[in-house]
Amino acid sequence: MNKRLIKDKLASRLMFMLTVFMIALIFAIVIGLYMKSRPILVTKAPHELLFGTKWRPLKGEFGFLPFIMGTFWVTGVSIAIAVPLCLLSAIYLSEYAHKRVRAFSLPLIDLLAGIPSIIYGMWGVIVIVPLTRDVIAPFFRVFSSGYSVLTAGIVLAIMIVPVIIHVSIEVFRTVPVELREASLSLGATKWQTIKHVVIRKALPGIIAAVVLGLSRAFGETMAVLMIAGNVARIPSSLFDAAYPLPALIANNYGEMLSVPLYDSALLLASLILMAIVLVFTIASRLILIKIERRIQ
């Protein structure tokens, strides 16, 4: 056989193997985390782990509920802040804005996505923490140290803005021009067209965009670790401290090898995080793929 053809065959095999490796990586992560969290899964009942509220590793009590609830609170607040902002700007940038405004704004929003989370965390500490402590909390006549659900939610909201805006703009672009024209020709104003035609048509895609943002917020670690307060109790208000799962994992890496089951518990926390994020990303990606198919 020709030398060139042999080279081609070899390269093909190698590339195929790397591709399979890439797909297998997802399974490898899940299986690896599962194997390492088995010791705690076999010694404790699942409901004890998931719904237990006591976190005392030294006494062998590992209740994840405070951390799971902390994650939900922080993520919920960030979504509540980010979604209206993102939708309004995505509609503006894709429907109203002049081409030049869009060309100016989108790279800046990309830049926002490129800022490391440690910088967001630091910014949260020097700007948002005092804002919550000295302005927002006194306004509602409550006391807050500033390291709270609200602070973490605000910073997370900014961090997920680029993801949601980007995907939403892509989705708006897939709405056929003919549909808009049909609506406009019936006498609808531009806003009515957007409200009743564009948004309705784009709704599944918008939901997918929000879910992608949601899963980003779920796994965000460093910024949250610095500003959420890290108290292992279920938060009962916006001004309480929270201790989300990723912060728990990152905060205890030093001690975990000396206490029995501790490392296993932390890797179980990673597994829970991975499972939630997997469900969210797979669901939103399936929606987006469906939309992409429709326009082709």
């Binding site: 590339m15 797909i23 990586l25 309004l88 990309d110 490129g114 989370s117 806003w191 670690t221 995080l273």
Partner: protein, 285 residues
């Protein structure tokens, strides 16, 4: 009168839209502004030329050279490894796989899923790999975790440009009697080189800035790492530890370190834009 109401509603919403876009852009300015204002006063030459001396975290002499070098080594090493894995995969699904192939679709889907996996999970997984290899937190560990983290980022960015190459170009190359490998290396890579470089830089930037993946795997040390098996400091973690102390001088150094990190990220971001614009020499349009 009805038309009036419709106009008013439209204007209210348009106002809200402009306001939220401005708010988002303003936040960016605010973040960059506060990093510069806080960081500049405590930035000095010692910060970037010295390693921490004794009592550095109590406010004594020294700099964060260890973290800067550590971050560059980890991000650099990870970027090289990630290119070696990403580029073949992306070439495979675009050149070798048939159009509409299941495997290509599955790979893209897997990349999207991997892109969404939080960096702390890559950190935990990297830690498991290290344990199973019998290694401790080290430069190598950091490189492994960051490689896994940036592979999906790099591959997706590469796929986006390589996908756009016209199929006629490939057909023309095959018609001259080339194999798929030759077409991949000499036509596809060359045609999409600016895009590939951009993807590499984006991944490198992400690698420098990420802390959660290296917290378990790279460890931290006050000296510049001399071997792959020594723990290595990273910039984001240096910022994190300095922020964590109650001593004002050390916290100010954290701001200066943050400024250095932000500067690196901005530099990378601007270079990608320049590459996208200028390096289009070999590209057939």
């Amino acid at each position: 009168m009805r038309t009036d109401w419709r106009k008013i509603e439209e204007n209210i919403f348009k106002g809200l839209m402009i306001a939220s876009t401005l708010l988002i852009l303003l936040t960016l300015v605010l973040i960059l502004g506060s990093v510069v204002i806080k960081g500049l006063p405590s930035l000095n030459l010692a910060m970037i030329t010295q390693t921490p001396k004794g009592g550095f975290y109590l406010g004594k002499e020294g700099g964060i050279l260890n973290a800067i070098v550590g971050s560059l080594l980890i991000a650099g090493g990870a970027t090289v490894l990630a290119v070696l894995i990403s580029l073949p995969v992306v070439l495979y699904i675009n050149v070798y796989a048939r159009i509409g192939s299941r495997l290509a679709m599955l790979t893209r889907f897997a990349l999207d899923v991997l892109w969404g996996v939080p960096s702390i999970v890559y950190g935990a997984f990297g830690f498991i790999i290290l344990l199973s290899l019998g290694l401790r937190a080290s430069l190598l560990g950091g490189i492994i975790a960051v490689t896994l983290l940036i592979i999906p980022i790099m591959s997706r960015a590469m796929d986006e440009v390589i996908r756009m190459i016209p199929k006629e170009l490939l057909a023309a190359s095959y018609a001259l009697g080339t194999t798929r490998l030759e077409t991949a290396c000499k036509v596809v890579v060359r045609q999409s080189l600016p895009g590939i470089l951009t993807a590499v830089l984006i991944a490198f930037g992400r690698g420098i800035g990420d802390a959660a993946s290296v917290i378990f795997t790279a460890g931290f040390s006050d000296s510049v790492p001399t071997s792959l098996f020594r723990p290595a400091a990273t910039l984001p973690l240096a910022i994190f530890f300095q922020m964590g102390t109650p001593i004002p001088e050390v916290q100010e150094r954290a701001y200066a370190s943050a400024l250095i990190l932000t500067f690196l990220i901005l530099l990378i971001s601007i270079s990608t834009r320049i590459i996208m614009k200028k390096f289009t020499k070999n590209v057939i349009r």
